[in-house]
Each structure stands twice: as structure tokens, then as C-alpha cells.
């Protein structure tokens, strides 16, 4: 994902329309400075030689998409066992690299140069590349762990995230030979020749997404230093630029690969929130107010506690999603990735705002910077609304396929009298907002989590009813009922997060991790709090536009859009004296 949406014009081959967006790979530039080289040599971290064998495939058989099924109130209970992806050797290897990276990224003394060198020496730039090409062949779970550490430097975090996704796209899109030619240049080639490479923002390889032939999308790789590329601030302009098309990848596959950027965005947001927590703790600890330590103020404690809940929830959801992708063949987890992003972007932003209001007066600049970071990450590339629409429309598309017959009957009640009577009878619990709990999720979790599990179950069971209500109400035009779809998307997002939180806490408690009892409490609290939200959202869907006030909100908006005034008179205005 890139910092800015760039709209540029390309007149080349069959690219006729605007380019909607570019993906920047971290560029590679040769720069050999003797001084820095000597400095780095001491810290150099040597790892194993080039591998001959590829990483073993341990993924399980394909499963049906998890969250899409939840829209139908179908829940894959196996997933309540939190995915465990990494084996012992891989874990040790991971820890070794992380320890080194950690020492670099957590030390404020280190410069950007040092950090980039550390990334190079740990082969981070080649991380998703296959072992046989001198990469690390990391999976998504490992990727998240690395990214978390690297994200202590948010700039580098974003660069490396873009870089990895770009590499994945290239792997899928280029032919073997093309890939081979490019990949060395991007990851190891220059390294071998000059022993030095530096990331820069403005030049280098660019992955450009274009619309070709009216509505089809295609990605193109633009090589560095080709003609026709000019940059203006954050915008890169292309004119008559030669580019290599990524022919081998289909649009849907490309969407899945690029969708990983959403998962990364969630991780980066979470790291930003974590930094905010640290800032607040540093500020609060030494201070006191009215003869009491500031840290005894319950509002401050609550704010930090809230932030921790969000942090924990988001972390669980991210690793859960990464586990889904790594654990099963041909995973369909684009919905889950989008949900992770949206959960963290929306909750994180409000959480950070609340946290940073604590030291806001004293540390204004610092707070401003941190909040700006968070805001930037949360709205990087796309908005909450567009992602929500993506989630809801995909979910309802999936549900629509399977419920089409039923919806047709509901919408034509006089043709199907017996069906309607049966339906009324079947839905009697749902209408009372008390569905029968038939999924027995508690059986797959630690017994202490029985109550939260039932709350999750309630939420899951309400989803089908919500989808049914929406489709029965709008028919095929459901894809334009945006305000209601937004609620559906938010409800589904919360369900994913609740699921991951419960399964993680249950796993932690069962295997006896340190502080597992805290995790249990966090999970129970989170589910308790979130269930009410989901309940409200779905009730609002059920209520319809007049009771949930959508109709009125939309009308106010429409009037303002038409007139561009605030409509109302000032409170001092009069009609007579």
C-alpha cells in the first residue's frame, strides 16, 4: 500500500484510463560508502547459506471461507482452536532474528541507516521470496511478528509492508524468467555486487495498478530510471512509460495479495496505539495531583485499560487471520483481513485520541505527531466506509447465493402461504431477539468462558437473520442500502474479533501461558462489551430506516448537499417582535 492515492495518466499499450493507485516497492539504489560499511561489519549478522530445499508445505486442506459463512450463521467450530502455525525450528529462527531486530529498533540511539542495514542483514527485504532464491519464505504469521518489531519505526514499517506485498504480487504475476530477473535485483543482487543498498521513497520499482479495456484491472511493474516518470510531491506521474505487465495474475488473486496490506495496516495501527500507551505511562508515572499519584486516577486507568482491550483484540484478530491464511490451502480470507484493518482503524483512532488527551497539554508536539501517525495509518489508501462496504457486500453476496430461493419466497408471500407461516413460526425467537443457541461454541473453549461463548453464539446466530431481513427488505437493491450494510459489516467485524479473542484466551489458559488469567479477563470483558454493540447494530438493521433514524439523517445530508448551507436559522432569529 502506498502513502497516497495517485491518479496519473498512462498512454501506453492498452492502458487507456487513469491509474488509480500505485504500490511502491522499496526502491533499491546502489550507494557504497566505505565508512558506513566498516561500521556495519561489526554488527553484521550472518545467517545460513543459500538453501536448496524449499519450505515444506504443511497446510491443511481447503476450508470454506470462515467469515463469509458467519453471514449465514454457519460457524466453523474447529477454528476456535487458535491456529498454531510455527514449529519449533522456525520459532527459534524467528526469535533469533527478532532479537537482533529488536535491539536495533527499540534502541532510540540507532539511526535510520543502522536500522536499514539491520533489515538487510536479516534478509528482511527478501523475506517472502522462496528459500531457493535466497529468501526466507516467511508466512503471514511470521511476517506479522517481524512487522510488529519493525513498526517501532513507523516509516520503515510502512516501507517494508509495501515491499513485501509488491514482491508477492510480482511472484504471482510474472513468469518464472521475468521474476528471476527482477527478484535478484530487488533482494539480493545488488547486495552481492556492492554490499550496500538504501531505500529511497521517490525512485525505484513501482507497481502500478491500471484500468485496461474499460473495467478490467491490471498491475504493471515500472522499472527504475525509465523515461516518463516524474514525481511531484507525493504524486508520481507517468507519461508514455514502458512497463512490464503482470499477466499471470487474475484480478481476484491480485485483490487477495494486495489485501494483505490491510492486515499489515492493522498491525501498524496497533503498534502506533502501543506507542501511545507507552507515552501515557511515561507521562503519568512520575506525576501527582492533589497529593495523590496521577496513576491512581480511575479515569486514566480506565482509558489505558480500554486501550489494552483494543490492543489485545486487534492482535488476536490479526494472528487469527494470518493463521487462517497460513494454515489452509487456497485460503479465502480477504474479508477477515479487511475486518482486522477496520477494527483497528476505527477503535484505535478513538482510543489514541482518548489516551493522548491525558498528556495533551504538556506534550503537545509529541501528542500531535503520534496522533497524526495514527490518523495517517488508519486512513492510508482507503477509508473506513469503503472497506466496510467491501466486507458487507462480499458477505451479503455469499449469503445471497445460498438464500436466494428463500428470499424470493419471502418477497412474494401470497404465492407461498405455507412457507410464510412456517417462516413466521421459525423466526419467532429471532423476532423476540432471543435465538436458540444451537451452535454449542462453549464446548470448544475452556469451561470458564462459557458465558462469553454464549454471547458470541448469540451474535453469530443473529447474523443470518440480519442478512435475511436486509435482503427481504431491499431485494436486489440491497447493495445500495449503504447505511444498513455498514452496520452489518461492523457487526461481522466484531464477531471475528470476538472469536479470535476467545480462542486465543482459551488457548493461553489451557497451555498455561504467563498472565493467562489476565487474558481470560480481557476476553470476557471484551466479549461482554462488544456483544451489546453487535446486538444494537442488528436490532437497528431489524428496525429499519425510520426507527434507526437513517431516513432522517440521509435527508438532512441531502438537503445540505443541495444547498450547501446549514439549513437552520440562528437561535437569536425571530419572526415577530
Amino acid at each position: 500500500m502506498n502513502v497516497a492515492r495517485k491518479i496519473c495518466i498512462i498512454n501506453q499499450n492498452n492502458i487507456t484510463r487513469q491509474v488509480y493507485r500505485t504500490f511502491r516497492l522499496s526502491s533499491v539504489k546502489r550507494e557504497s560508502t566505505q565508512a558506513s560499511q566498516t561500521q556495519i561489519q561489526e554488527e553484521k549478522f550472518e545467517f545460513e547459506d543459500v538453501k536448496i530445499y524449499e519450505r515444506a508445505e504443511r497446510r491443511k486442506a481447503q476450508i470454506s471461507p470462515f467469515m463469509k459463512d458467519v453471514f449465514l450463521s454457519v460457524f466453523n467450530r474447529d477454528l476456535l482452536a487458535f491456529p498454531e502455525i510455527i514449529n519449533k525450528e522456525e520459532f527459534e529462527d524467528l526469535e533469533r532474528r527478532l532479537k537482533f531486530l529488536d535491539s536495533m529498533f527499540n534502541d532510540r540511539e540507532k539511526t535510520k541507516e543502522d536500522r536499514i542495514n539491520a533489515l538487510k542483514s536479516t534478509k528482511m527485504f527478501a523475506a517472502p521470496v522462496p528459500l531457493t532464491r535466497n529468501g526466507l519464505a516467511i508466512n503471514k504469521t511470521e511476517g506479522l511478528r517481524y512487522l510488529e518489531t519493525i513498526a517501532n519505526d513507523l516509516d520503515l514499517g510502512q516501507i517494508i509492508s509495501d515491499h513485501w506485498i509488491g514482491l508477492e504480487a510480482l511472484k504471482a504475476g510474472l513468469t518464472e524468467e521475468q521474476y528471476a530477473a527482477v527478484v535478484d535485483d530487488l533482494t539480493t543482487g545488488i547486495w552481492r555486487i556492492s554490499g550496500e543498498k538504501v531505500c529511497k521513497h521517490t525512485s525505484g520499482y513501482l507497481l502500478v495498478l491500471c484500468a485496461v479495456e474499460a473495467s478490467r484491472l491490471k498491475a504493471f511493474l515500472v522499472h527504475p530510471k525509465v523515461e516518463g516518470v516524474s514525481s511531484d510531491g507525493k504524486f508520481v506521474k507517468f507519461f508514455n512509460t514502458p512497463a512490464t505487465p503482470l499477466d499471470n495474475v487474475k484480478e481476484s488473486h491480485l485483490a487477495q495479495i494486495l489485501g494483505i496490506s490491510r492486515l499489515h495496516a492493522a498491525t501498524l495501527c496497533r503498534c502506533s496505539l502501543k506507542n501511545a500507551i507507552h507515552t501515557v505511562v511515561d507521562y503519568v508515572k512520575p506525576r501527582s495531583m492533589a497529593g495523590k499519584p496521577l496513576s491512581e486516577l480511575s479515569t486514566i486507568r480506565a482509558a489505558i485499560g480500554d486501550a489494552l482491550l483494543d490492543l489485545y483484540a486487534s492482535e488476536s484478530a490479526e494472528y487469527f487471520t494470518a493463521g487462517l491464511i497460513d494454515g489452509y490451502m487456497e485460503p479465502d480470507a480477504e474479508l477477515e483481513m479487511a475486518m482486522c484493518r477496520n477494527f483497528m482503524a476505527s477503535h484505535g483512532l478513538s482510543s489514541v485520541l482518548k489516551l493522548l488527551s491525558i498528556p495533551a497539554l504538556d506534550k503537545e508536539l509529541e501528542c500531535k505527531r503520534q496522533f497524526d501517525d495514527m490518523r495517517h495509518l488508519a486512513s492510508r489508501g482507503e477509508t473506513l466506509d469503503s472497506v466496510n462496504m467491501f466486507i458487507a457486500l462480499n458477505g451479503i453476496h455469499h449469503a445471497g447465493k445460498l438464500m436466494a430461493q428463500e428470499i424470493k419466497q419471502i418477497r412474494n408471500p401470497l404465492f407461498n402461504p405455507t412457507f410464510i407461516i412456517r417462516k413466521i413460526f421459525e423466526n419467532r425467537h429471532q423476532e423476540k431477539d432471543a435465538p436458540k443457541l444451537t451452535l454449542y461454541l462453549a464446548e470448544h473453549l475452556h469451561p470458564t468462558l462459557k458465558q462469553p461463548a454464549e454471547q458470541l453464539e448469540y451474535c453469530v446466530l443473529r447474523m443470518k437473520f440480519a442478512c435475511e431481513t436486509l435482503m427481504a427488505r431491499h431485494g436486489i437493491h440491497v447493495s445500495e442500502a449503504y447505511t444498513e450494510l455498514e452496520r452489518l459489516a461492523e457487526a461481522a467485524t466484531e464477531i471475528l474479533v470476538m472469536t479470535s479473542v476467545l480462542s486465543r484466551a482459551s488457548r493461553a489458559y489451557c497451555i498455561g501461558l504467563r498472565n493467562a488469567e489476565v487474558e481470560m479477563k480481557l476476553a470476557a470483558c471484551f466479549v461482554e462489551r462488544t456483544k451489546d454493540r453487535v446486538k444494537k447494530l442488528i436490532l437497528e438493521i431489524d428496525d429499519g430506516e425510520f426507527l434507526n433514524l437513517d431516513h432522517f439523517r440521509c435527508n438532512f445530508g441531502k438537503k445540505i448537499l443541495d444547498t450547501n448551507t446549514v439549513l437552520v436559522e440562528k437561535p437569536t432569529a425571530r419572526t415577530f417582535w
Binding site: L217, L254, A255, S261, G381, L393, A404, I476, S479, F576
Partner: protein, 372 residues
């Protein structure tokens, strides 16, 4: 005999016999009408006349007749919308005398003629949409007491008038402009408010060389209408229809429409009940979708009798000015008008400076040149 007697009773005891008490003033005092002799008719002289009446006689004889006469003359002096004038008239009524002092007086309409007079005054205010104020209430209270009919009338007015005052969704300033051009702009803006992106231009017919009628044209056309116009089939003529009238309070503005053909209704065969294959977005992060223009199908401009592609009001409403309008539309972004024939079907021939239809002005110019 008996029948004649009964008929006589019936004739004389008509049901409105009670009203007769104050309905006729024929046998009353003949009032000196100060308004008739005033040389200049404006607010100042009107108020002077009222003052004159007040100062003439301490008992103010004939004040009811005076007020009725004054009310009837308001339009003449152009003060029928002025609250101050109405207050001056209420002020004419004596204070205290008409306040009932016991329940019988209160119940059976004390001084009915005077009360009715005040009610009529208020009624005229209401008809002219003049909102009374709290000072007026105080005055009425001092004259008729809190149980007076005029007070009740006043209170009802104060309940309803503020509610009706801003009921129209099209806001107009309290005082309408006197300039006809400004008025036309307001009128066209009101008609075209259905489309928020509407663009209103003011052109002068001088821009068109062949024009005879030198006047202004207020023309409104939205970008959507431009597209609709450009998509008109060139063989079917466009039609200029009008004049239609729009009211801005009491003022009337005539306007004209340029009508094209309405496109056939888009056929939508999709089954709205079939949700088996709903649309879904491609899901590429940051991809917003194509930036196609807004679909122009079934816009508000497409009505049953045709597609309204432009609207105008001109200074003279003459055919020649409308011809200039078409030429100006062509000049400003509607080149398609060069090829499409335009028919003028004006409902009533407007008071025209008279130019034959399609008669090219150049021809006439040439004639003029000859005669010169």
C-alpha cells in the same frame, strides 16, 4: 292578509338580524375623508391624515367609519404592508372605554361595532401577511381588555402566522426587488431548484447580431441538461414552449421552456427478488471504482411531455428575444443547436414587438438600409 303579514315578518326577520346592528353604516355620520384631498400619496401623508383625525376632536367621533375608510385607502397609498400604519390606526380607538366591566358585557360583545372594526383591521393585516407584534397586543389589550374579540383574533394570528410564514420551501427576501431582471433571476432560480447543479446565466441579446429586440435573457441550463440536449436526435425538432407564469408573491414572471424528445424508458429486465448473484466490489485496497460520469437516465428533466433541456425568462418575452436565446445557447456550449430545427409554439402571442417567425432579422436590416 294573514299571509301577507307573515311574509312581512319573514322578510324583515332574516337570520342575520343580529348582524344588522353593526353591518350598515348608511345612516351613520358622513365622514370627512382627509385621504381624498391629500396631494401626494405615500406613508408620510397617510400618517399625517391619521394624526389630523386624532387631533381634530377629543371625542374622536366617527372613528370606526374613519378606520374603515383608512383601511380601504391603504393600497392607494402603498402602505398595506406596513405594520406601523396599522398600529397608527389602532391607536385611533380610545383607550379604556371599550373594556367590559362585568360578565354580561364580556359575554355579549361589548361595543360590537368597534370590536368588529378592530377585527376587520386585523383581518386586513392577515390578508396582507403583515405580522403584528407584542406592542400591538398591548394596544389592543388597553382598548378592549383581555376578553375582547380582537385580542382573541390577535392571538390566533400569532399562533398561525409564524407557522405559515416560512412554509414555502423557496425562500424569498421580505422585500422583492423592483428590478424586473432581478425578479426574473429569482423566478428562474426557483423553478430550477430541482437540480442543485443548475447554472443560471444572464445574457444580453446584443451579443447576437441579428437580434432586433435588445433586452436581457435569464437562461438556466445544468450540465445534465447539456448532455441531454447533445443526445437529442437531430431530425426531431426542439420546441420552445411558453409563456408559462410563475408567481413570486404578487409578482408574475413569464418563462419559456426548450423541450426535446423524451428517451424511451430504460428497460430493466432484472428480477428484483433474485439475490443469487449480487454485485460485489473487486476488493483491491484503494481502488475506488471507475470514475464514470453520473448516469443521466431518468433525471428530473425528463418529464412526460418532453425533456426540458433549458429554461429562460427574457426582458420582453418576445419571439425575437427567444430566437436570440436559442442562438446564445448555441454559442455557450450547445453546438448541437446548429443542426436541430427549433419550433416556436407560443400558447398566446405575447405582446410582441412583432417579428415574423424565422424571418431573419438581417433581411429587415437590409430593408432598413435600402430605405435609408
Amino acid at each position: 292578509m294573514a299571509a301577507r303579514f307573515i311574509r312581512h315578518i319573514l322578510r324583515n326577520n332574516s337570520p342575520n338580524i343580529l348582524l344588522k346592528r353593526w353591518s350598515s353604516t348608511e345612516k351613520g355620520v358622513t365622514v370627512f375623508d382627509p385621504f381624498a384631498i391629500t396631494p401626494k400619496k405615500d406613508k408620510k401623508t397617510y400618517l399625517e391624515a391619521v394624526k389630523m383625525f386624532e387631533g381634530r376632536d377629543t371625542r374622536r367621533r366617527g372613528h370606526v367609519e374613519f378606520i374603515y375608510a383608512a383601511l380601504a385607502r391603504m393600497k392607494e397609498f402603498g402602505v398595506e404592508k406596513d405594520l406601523e400604519v396599522y398600529k397608527a390606526l389602532v391607536e385611533v380607538l380610545p383607550k379604556g372605554k371599550f373594556i367590559p366591566t362585568n360578565i354580561f358585557q364580556a359575554e355579549f360583545m361589548h361595543y360590537p361595532k368597534q370590536q368588529q372594526c378592530a377585527v376587520d383591521l386585523l383581518e386586513q393585516m392577515e390578508d396582507n401577511k403583515v405580522m403584528p407584534d407584542t406592542e400591538m397586543e398591548q394596544m389592543l389589550l388597553n382598548i378592549f381588555g383581555k376578553r375582547g374579540i380582537p385580542l382573541r383574533k390577535f392571538w390566533r394570528m400569532m399562533y398561525w402566522m409564524p407557522k405559515f410564514r416560512n412554509l414555502s420551501p423557496w425562500y424569498l427576501p421580505d422585500e422583492l426587488p423592483n428590478d424586473v431582471l432581478e425578479l426574473a433571476k429569482l423566478a428562474v432560480a426557483r423553478i430550477t431548484s430541482v437540480d442543485p447543479v443548475m447554472k443560471i446565466d444572464v445574457w444580453q441579446t446584443e451579443e447576437v447580431e441579428a437580434s432586433l429586440d435588445k433586452t436581457w435573457i435569464v437562461s438556466a441550463q445544468s450540465p445534465i441538461q447539456k448532455v441531454l440536449l447533445s443526445e437529442q436526435p437531430p431530425e426531431d425538432p426542439l420546441v420552445v414552449k411558453g409563456p408559462f407564469q410563475v408567481y413570486l408573491r404578487e409578482q408574475i414572471v413569464s418563462y419559456f421552456l426548450l423541450l426535446g424528445k423524451t428517451r424511451p424508458e430504460p428497460k430493466d429486465e432484472t428480477d428484483v427478488d433474485d439475490v443469487s448473484n449480487l454485485k460485489k466490489p473487486p476488493g483491491i485496497p484503494g481502488y475506488m471504482g471507475t470514475t464514470k460520469a453520473v448516469a443521466v437516465k431518468s433525471t428530473v428533466h425528463e418529464q412526460d411531455d418532453g425533456t426540458i433541456v433549458a429554461i429562460c425568462a427574457t426582458g420582453t418575452s418576445s419571439r425575437d428575444s427567444l430566437l436570440s436565446w436559442i442562438r446564445l445557447l448555441e454559442k455557450y456550449g450547445n453546438p448541437v443547436l446548429t443542426n436541430i430545427p427549433v419550433i416556436f409554439t407560443l400558447i398566446a402571442p405575447p405582446s410582441d414587438v412583432s417579428i415574423q417567425e424565422i424571418q431573419p432579422a438581417i433581411h429587415k436590416d437590409a430593408k432598413n438600409a435600402e430605405s435609408n
